[in-house]
Symmetry: C2
Subunit: 335 residues, 2 copies
């Protein structure tokens, strides 16, 4: 069996910088037409110059023009309208991190006071800049995302024209919020469609499946699957593929992040086929995102075939999900 996808998009991707960027850029982008690139570098990407320079480093590392990195800025409450107007054409979205919630998020937002955020978020709303949010509180690890839903709803109500993307959602509570506010959208990863906390910590502890937000309960996975397989028009694929060097994963105190980009499409085809939902895959991996973000991607086509693929044990030192295991689909061509 073969399947061709038009302009697949990864609406949440970590490409990192310097040596790591060079190590994983090609493998992370090869099968995608474009990706929303996260800004949580050290220091975070927060000026026009940094956006431009980071985009150049990304294109240099990829080594070809057949991919669009949709650039983002690291949200700061003091961004004003003048600044945002000058940077508008260089970015596709702005990413908000609660302070300290994940890798390199120390400079994020500590409170969610609507009036404090109003100048920046109203300007973004007027300029039609989507707000991408890592939605977790500092609460108990299994409750963090569900607790954040009330903050999503507060922001959605206060800024009804602002597109708010709930990033890498993992819970039934986030899924339910999608339909309560017109301006709430979501990305979903492939790993959260495949695993629960059982896969991370139910047998041996699996550092390469440890991520933030952590994989949740079976009923949460079911809720995610339901909207992903139906290609609910407000959800999009975003891998949250997040490379760390092997030593930072297999150690005493392992970093959060699952590296999936090189095998994400293959896994998605297998998953959608299993659930008899292949007709919806094109929308989930591209069309919905084009609608939501209003982007027109490069005309890249990616053909997959049902032929076993042995996942490499690592990509330049970064261990992917299912390292060394066989998956059912291979990339035949990406052009």
């Amino acid at each position: 069996m073969e399947l061709t996808l038009q302009a697949p998009l990864d609406m949440h991707l970590h490409l990192r910088d310097t040596e790591m960027l060079e190590n994983i850029a090609q493998a992370s982008t090869h099968t995608f037409s474009g990706a929303i690139v996260m800004p949580n570098l050290v220091p975070p990407v927060s000026s026009k110059e940094e956006v431009i320079a980071y985009k150049e480093r990304i294109m240099d590392s990829i080594g070809n023009e057949n991919f669009i990195p949709y650039m983002t800025l690291f949200f700061k409450p003091d961004y004003d309208r003048v600044f945002l107007e000058t940077i508008r054409e260089k970015i596709t979205a702005i990413k908000l991190y609660p302070a300290g919630i994940t890798t390199n998020s120390e400079g994020g937002v500590s409170g969610f006071d609507v009036e404090e955020l109003r100048p920046a978020l109203e300007a973004m709303s007027d300029l039609n800049i989507p707000l991408c949010v890592h939605g977790e509180t500092n609460g108990f690890v299994m409750d963090r995302e569900a607790e954040f839903v009330s903050i999503y709803e507060k922001l959605a109500a206060a800024f009804p024209k602002l597109k708010i993307i709930m990033e890498h959602i993992t819970t039934k509570e986030s899924v339910a919020a999608l339909d309560r506010f017109e301006n709430l959208y979501a990305t979903i990863t492939i790993h959260h469609l495949l695993i629960t906390l059982d896969d991370v910590a139910g047998g041996m502890l699996q550092p390469h499946l440890f991520c933030k937000p952590i994989a949740k309960r079976p009923e949460d996975k079911e809720a995610l699957l339901k909207v992903a397989l139906a290609a609910h028009p407000k959800v999009m694929f975003g891998s949250d593929s997040a490379p760390h060097p092997r030593h930072a994963k297999e150690n005493c105190g392992c970093a959060a992040g699952v590296f999936t980009a090189p095998i994400a499409l293959q896994l998605l085809v297998e998953l959608f086929e299993k659930h008899h939902a292949l007709d919806n895959l094109q929308a989930f991996v591209s069309d919905n995102a084009q609608q939501i973000y209003g982007v027109t991607p490069l005309n890249k086509t990616v053909t997959l075939e049902k032929k076993p693929f042995k996942v490499p044990t690592d990509y330049n030192g970064v261990v992917p999900m299912y390292a060394g295991e066989e998956i059912a689909y291979s990339i035949k061509e990406a052009k």
Copy 2:
């Protein structure tokens, strides 16, 4: 401040065998008068000869007579009355593992059919041999223990004279079951009184805090604290101290178990002091167990003092809880 405990007992201890036994036996038993020793070796301890020989290896590894290993047998449904009568004086309890639920439990029980278990459990009941149980189903990792409570209750009702010890309980559901059946008892570890899943996977992933049953939710920890600090007469301290070599913990796919025995009493004193419950510690770490098991321990006394103790980074290659960190209490004397 100083505090002296009379005959502290660890009612759930893993001493392993061969090289590991030699590496950790002294450190694991030094501050205790005795301990219930788990039988999950490879192969499991399941004959009189194996019990006697394992006890000898333990005593050889400890190198002194100032400790009693209370021996256990690995439960098998085909144990009959004749066999149990011949082994009665050599063992203190029999430990039941659901098949495949934790380290070296492959030969455990697969179903919990009361009639199938009746011959063995009625004989144990008549011979007053307590049944220690690792109470987890094969369900979702956060639900396994709560799901097992109905099995505890089924067994408790079917064998009302059989003492059933719910080992290393971690949930409010198990705590609640304690008072519903006269013949249900429980051990509680020090780590489950101190940590939740947040400490294991809320920040970086912490392999040295990964154990089975996994640490649960804050409200579960509170329920455990309540009965432990009150020295509820049906609960006893049992460390479930479970050594693994460093490479089996800090690796891709880490083994379950927290190594706590050498610092357990120090942590317990600190915890009970913090909660103004020091008056109940003697009951929690010894008196309750003596009552429940009907054992008369060696007259060992252990004196602790409020003096910082830097936990070693490892004990012969086994990394303890709080490795390299400072804790508030030290052992002054154990004799």
